[in-house]
Structures are given as C-alpha cells and as structure tokens.
Symmetry: C2
C-alpha cells in the first residue's frame, strides 16, 4: 500500500507540478487525524458454521474496510479462537480485544440487565427492538448500563422470533413441561424452572448426543436455518413454536469503551452505519433462509406444533413474576424493564391495526392457496 | 476548514520535524483519489412537514457527511424547491441533480415496473421487502430496470404497512365502494377503478378542502403519524385499515447512474451503509410515532374500521387481474412480479410459524390487558 502510494505521488507530482504537491502537503495532516490506519480484532460468540451470525460479523468488518478504503480493518475470530463464545464481551471489557459480535444475554449471570439489552421472555419483536433502541430511549439506557462494564454497544442484527425448540414428545398441556429435561439457559431457563422444567446447560456440540441418548428431552436453539445444521430433527420429532423467550433477539457489536472514545468521529459514524447495514443483512439472511429450511425439515418428517395458549399463559405468568422479583432488587434492571414494558404496550396496540391485519389477511390467503 | 488544516500542518511539522512532513506528502495523493470533496444535491419527494420522510433524507445526508469527515456533502431539497415531488427521479435521470429521496411508484405512469420496486397491492411487508431486496434478487432486478432510466437505486427506508385512509361514510360491503370518489393514484387507483371507485388525482394541499366540501368521499395518505398533520380526522370520521395497496412501501435514494459509477468505491460503500442507517431510522420513527398519533386521533373522535374480508377479497381479485394484464405486455414487469410473487409465497408460509404466532399471542395479551 505504501509503495503504491509513493509511486502514485511521484507520478502525480511529475505530471501536474509543484503547486499540486504543495496542496497535498497542506491536506495531509487532517487526514492523518481522521483516517488513521487501524487493525482491530473482533471475537464472535459463534462458530463459523452458523453462517448467518458469523457471516454477519464478517459482513460488518467488510463494510468498515470498504467504507474506509481499507484503512480501518477488523479481523473476525470465531468462538474459541481467542476466547469462548460466552466470554466475548468479557474480552472487550478487559481490553483483550477491541470488539465482540455477540448476544448480550450471554452475560445474564453477571447481571440480568444484560438480557434486557438482547431478548427476554414475551419481550419486543425484531422491529420493535429497533424502534425501542433508536426512538424509545433504548440505546441510551443500554449504553449507560454497558458503560459500567467498559462497553459501548451498537445494535447490529436480529435473529427474529425464534422457535420453541425440539421435543422428543408432545407438549399438550402445561403439565407436560413438569420434569422435562430441556437444554435452555439464562433468563428463559429461569422462567422454565418455575413451570417445572429442569433446565440443562450444554454447549452447542454436546446437545445432539444428549438428545439422541435421551439424557435430555428437549432443546432450544435458534430457528430452522440454524437448527437444521445441528441435525436435531433426526433425534427429536416435534418442533414447537413460537420461542416465547426470544421474540426478537438483538445482536450487538460491543466495543471497548475507551477504544470507542478514542476513535475519530468519522470512524464512529462508519461503525454506526456498518452496524445498520449488518443489522439488515442478518435479518434478510434469516428471512430468506428460514422458509427453505422449514420446508426441508417438514419434508424430512419434522412435526410442527404450536405451544397451546394454556402453556404460553403459565409461562407468561412465571415470566412476569421473575421480572417483578428482579426489578425489586436491581435498579438498572427495573429502569430498563419499565422502559421496555411501556414501549411494548404501545407497540402491540398499534400492531393490531395496520401491519397485523395486513399480515393476517395475507396469511389467510396463503392457507387458501390464493397467493 | 482549510485554515485549520494549514495551522495543524504547520504545528505538526514544527513539532516533529521534516521526516513526518515528508511522510504526509507521500500519503496525500491516494487520499485525493478516495476522499474527494464532493457537494451533491438531493431532491426529495416530500415537503419538510412530513418530518419522518424528509427527516430521513436529512438523516442520510448527515450520516454521509459524518462518515467522510464532511468531505462528501449532500444538500437536501424539499419537493418544489428544485423540481416537484413527483419529478424527483426524473431530475436524477436527466442529471439535473445527483440524487433523489423518493418512492419509485410515483413513476408508475412512465412504466408500471417502477411501482414493483416500491409497493403494489397485496405485496410484501416491510421486512419481506428488505429480504427480497438483499437476498431474493430484488436489488439486482430493480437496478437492471432502473439502469434503463439512468438511475442506481439504494433501499433507504420503509413507511411500513399503511392505512386504508379516511372515509366520510362506512364501507361495509364491496358495493359501498361503487361510485365512491376517492383520492388515490397509481397502481392502487387502477385497482380501485376496477371495483367501482372513481379515483381522483389531487396534490397534498388540495385534499383537505375537497374532503371537507364533499367533492371527494375519501382519501388515502400514509398512516397516523403523517395523516394527523394534514387534519383529515376533522372532516372524515372513519379511518380504515389496512392499506392493502401498501403493505411495506420502500423508500429509495436514487442516484444518477453515471455519477454513481464515478464515485470511489469507498464512497459507494459509505452511501450503501448510510442508506441502511436511514432505512432503520425511518422505520423506527414511524414505529415510535404511529401509536401516539393513533391514540390522539381516536381521542379526537376518529372511528377505526377494518375493511371487511369480502371487501379485501374483491380488491385482491381485481389486483391479480391487473398484475396478469400488465405482465402479459411488459417483460420487465413480469420478470420482477414473478420474483416477488414466488418470494411472497415462501415468506407468508414462514410468517405463520414463529413471528406470526408470537405477535398474535402478544396482541391477544394486549386485548386482555395482560401486558
């Protein structure tokens, strides 16, 4: 790069003379300030095989490089290459890496407030998350909290509403959840425990054999596009929906706060815009990939099952109890949950009018084979 | 800016000596290629009073300036300042301005294919439009068509599902549409004409007096946030939903194709990323503003009414007839409509599973006052 630049300069100076060279001298220092050459590392919470998520981290890095003429380069690392997937943001807090591509609810054990900045049971859907983040005070609230952990967060993706997961037997009533050994963690696991499930913590690679042997009865993961790759449909027949604990899971780029603040303003804007680009890229990948995957899964014998309203109701009640309990003892949590709850009330009022009726009419047409 | 830069240079050269100054000289020409100072003009299809839309054009311009340290400046103009709102992309085609912020269906009279790159009756919702554009071949198809008009299009916003508009009397059956004088244009107007409506073409400012005097019986506009500003609720009591002709209206930044191709690659990326940022900004503005506006409208006496299923069905049938007729004689239209139709089929299959059931459960909870 330096060599090419020097040649370019010599050629240019020769062609147009000293006046231009002098002008270039004057222009240079401002550029040295605003377009520094940076090489950052971003550790992701995903293996490379989850190409919608890991691919979104790569997409983000490519956008930043392209927008800065390769001056700002971000090297992406899969889970385990630098730190484990569930330690990605810890590495950012500690300054081991400049960035993480992650889902903040992984850090719920440290403080449940992290989960509110990601997805919690019966929370906002993907579009509402974007609106809450930008216009509902979410960005400010989340970053005031993240700052305590030395993190600056950018909203950079969403998995959309997830599936309820894979079950070896049918769940017809809330009682069928009692004693069920299910691989589910975090906030959702805590709610599940209240309705009788025995939550299990298992890393991605250990789930399939446990489900096959019957060591666990059920597992949740993401949705058809990602789940298909892990092969759960071969060892658990019933695929339940919706994943009431993840109505719209926010994916973040977490930046070390000091590193963020040192950036020139133009690079901060480049990162913001690249995060929006990655956000829409991720959503499009899931929206385009999920219908194809669900068709293949059903063709392979998967039985789709909705959770019954009674099942959802007991889970909703348990979730509300947990929200109240944590709010009573955690001020950050209460502040953010109150904000989300008020926003959710308005969003689900309005959704019943234009978008909800439009989509419901179209879904009816789909069933009538009229599309 | 130049003065500050010169001072900066002198200070820097003095402090660190001739070696650094020489390095700065070497670095300059590459920057001259990739960070040129540009001042472009963007003409919008909206008045400044429609702050969600015009504000989105400004947001886009601000992002581009901020990401390039003010080197790439885009000045925004409201409808009528350079050309009328419905001529915005014509000005881009002709090279009068470098950019337009617009809704492509305004150019449907020139070629109905423009409407498919924006919103047509019973088409995709906002999220599906994003997925079709990015992963369903939409961007390539639309830009192959736009190229014939010397335009390069960037997806830069969405109005979300719109409302069916303001009616002076109730529409209970499809027969109530017969003879109705309604302000509605383009593709939607052509479908409405098939079900007995007499479509009227009226500029924004002329609608209110016409509706007040009864010269027209109904009008459509956008949704609560924008409609409230025009005051229709004072002269028409019934507010119908959904706007079946705009399930997710795409807002574009149209760039003069030759100007786009002349841009350094990094500036092209800056525009792409800023378009994604503006896209999410616009959606958030509408999502945050619409619930507040609908509550105020209802408090002021507006009666919300859903179109009956029978009414939607006759309109859907009429729309399908029109799609078939235009497809038979317009190859570009057929190619893009076939792509959208196939994509829509998969999208509304999948929506019935995770997102649809999640949102429907939450809407039921809203009605039960359980949120």
């Amino acid at each position: 790069m330096a060599r090419l630049t020097r040649r370019g300069f010599i050629k240019r100076a020769g062609a147009v003379g000293a006046g231009t060279a002098a002008a270039a001298v004057v222009a240079a220092p401002a550029i040295a300030q605003t377009m520094p050459e940076l090489k950052w590392r971003m550790t992701a919470s995903w293996p490379k095989s989850l190409d919608a998520l890991y691919g979104s981290a790569e997409h983000f890095a490519r956008s930043v490089a392209a927008a800065t003429d390769n001056k700002f380069q971000i090297q992406t690392f899969a889970a385990g290459e630098i730190v484990g997937g569930l330690q990605a943001s810890d590495a950012v807090s500690a300054g081991t890496v400049e960035m993480a591509h992650t889902a903040p609810y992984y850090y719920w054990g440290k403080d449940p407030t992290f989960a509110l900045c990601c997805a919690t049971p019966f929370g906002l859907n993907a579009r509402m998350q974007n609106a809450w983040w930008r216009e509902g005070g979410g960005e400010g609230l989340a970053n005031a909290f993240f700052a305590k952990h030395n993190i600056y967060g950018l909203l950079a993706g969403n998995t959309l509403a997830q599936m309820g997961g894979w079950f070896r037997k049918e769940i017809n009533t809330p009682d069928d959840l009692k004693g069920l050994k299910m691989r589910i963690a975090g906030f959702a696991g805590a709610v599940m425990a209240r309705v009788g499930v025995i939550p299990q913590q298992l890393a991605g690679g250990d789930i399939y054999p446990a489900l096959e042997k019957g060591t666990i009865d059920a597992t949740e993961w993401v949705g058809p596009y990602d789940d298909e790759k892990l092969g759960f449909y071969k060892v658990a027949k019933f695929y339940y929906y919706p994943g009431w604990w993840e109505g719209g899971t926010m994916i973040h780029v977490h930046v070390n706060k000091a590193k963020w603040e040192e950036l020139p303003k133009n690079y901060q804007q480049v990162l913001r815009d690249a995060a929006a680009e990655a956000h829409n890229h991720t959503i499009a990948r899931y929206d385009a990939g999920n219908p194809q995957a669900i068709k293949r899964l059903v063709a392979a014998g998967t039985q789709l099952r909705p959770f019954s309203e009674a099942t959802l109701d007991v889970c909703h009640k348990a979730a509300n109890e947990l929200y109240a309990e944590i709010s009573a003892k955690n001020e950050d949590f209460k502040k953010i949950w109150d904000s989300i709850k008020a926003f959710r009330l308005d969003q689900y009022l309005w959704l019943q009018v234009a978008d909800g009726t439009y989509d419901n009419y179209m879904m009816v047409q789909h069933r009538k084979k009229a599309l």
